[in-house]
Symmetry: C2
Subunit: 158 residues, 2 copies
């Protein structure tokens, strides 16, 4: 796809980013757990978490646009701590590409930007979390050299 | 294996628990990241993390012993928050069975205790994290009804 550009997010982009952060977040909650949640309260919680992380000095959001500055996706990177070593690392909080623009290399472009940023910050590693059922994303990360380190497992208690 | 008992940990057990928390923690760090670490500083960090979680009102440690009260393993459970829903859940921080006593159902016994405890606390779900290369543990968790929810992936930056 021609004309894709990646740049730092500005104030004009946060409506788009917030909308899809909420939308993809909600979609990723198992149906069995949605019953316990009030969507409006959850949305407030989600946007608070987002804002808190965004305000950190180490956080950065990149957006991908077409040549007309139409937003196609975004990536949210910052500083994580690998709990087992206690060492800081680059951490990708979220990565999103609009449905109709997937499979065009936009995710890879955004991820390269996050790696570049993490290197500049002096981190030796970059990490991220992917939902276990998100095969397309997992495939992209593997292709870009990411390896599974740990798996979160869960069970409903009856 | 006959005569296995599971009980809450007491002061006399913390030396055993601390020793293996440090030992298995260190063993789980990739060789490529050990170079950045000072083992003594890391041990202090690890024991601090352990103590901080242990002191929480919601935390509980169970130990498995043989009929002579010899320690065979332990499980550390407490309260987690599932970041995506913001809901509290039971969270297994650590589970350990001594090498020579593995494959005898001790892990399952400890895990059942953690599930029982989490139910008593009113959590609808229990969660844990397993290192991606720990096949024996992953197999046990699957057998006990745990499903992969999210995968942590990482990449070294050169």
């Amino acid at each position: 796809m021609k004309g894709i550009m990646v740049r730092e997010a500005g104030d004009q982009d946060y409506e788009f980013i917030g909308k899809y952060t909420v939308e993809t977040g909600w979609a990723s909650i198992p149906e069995s757990e949605k019953g316990e949640l009030n969507k409006q309260e959850w949305t407030t919680h989600m946007l608070e978490v987002f804002e808190n992380i965004r305000k950190r000095e180490t956080s950065k959001i990149f957006v991908a646009t077409d040549q007309d500055q139409v937003l196609l996706g975004y990536l949210f990177v910052g500083e994580g701590t690998y709990w087992i070593t206690g060492q800081r690392c680059g951490y990708v909080y979220d990565i999103f590409v609009k449905q109709e623009f997937r499979g065009k290399g936009i995710g890879a472009l955004l991820l390269e930007k996050a790696e570049e940023y993490s290197k500049e910050k002096g981190y030796s590693n970059i990490r991220l979390m992917v939902f276990a059922d998100n095969e397309a994303a997992t495939r992209l990360y593997r292709k870009m050299g990411y390896r599974a380190e740990a798996i979160h497992m869960g069970k409903a208690l009856s």
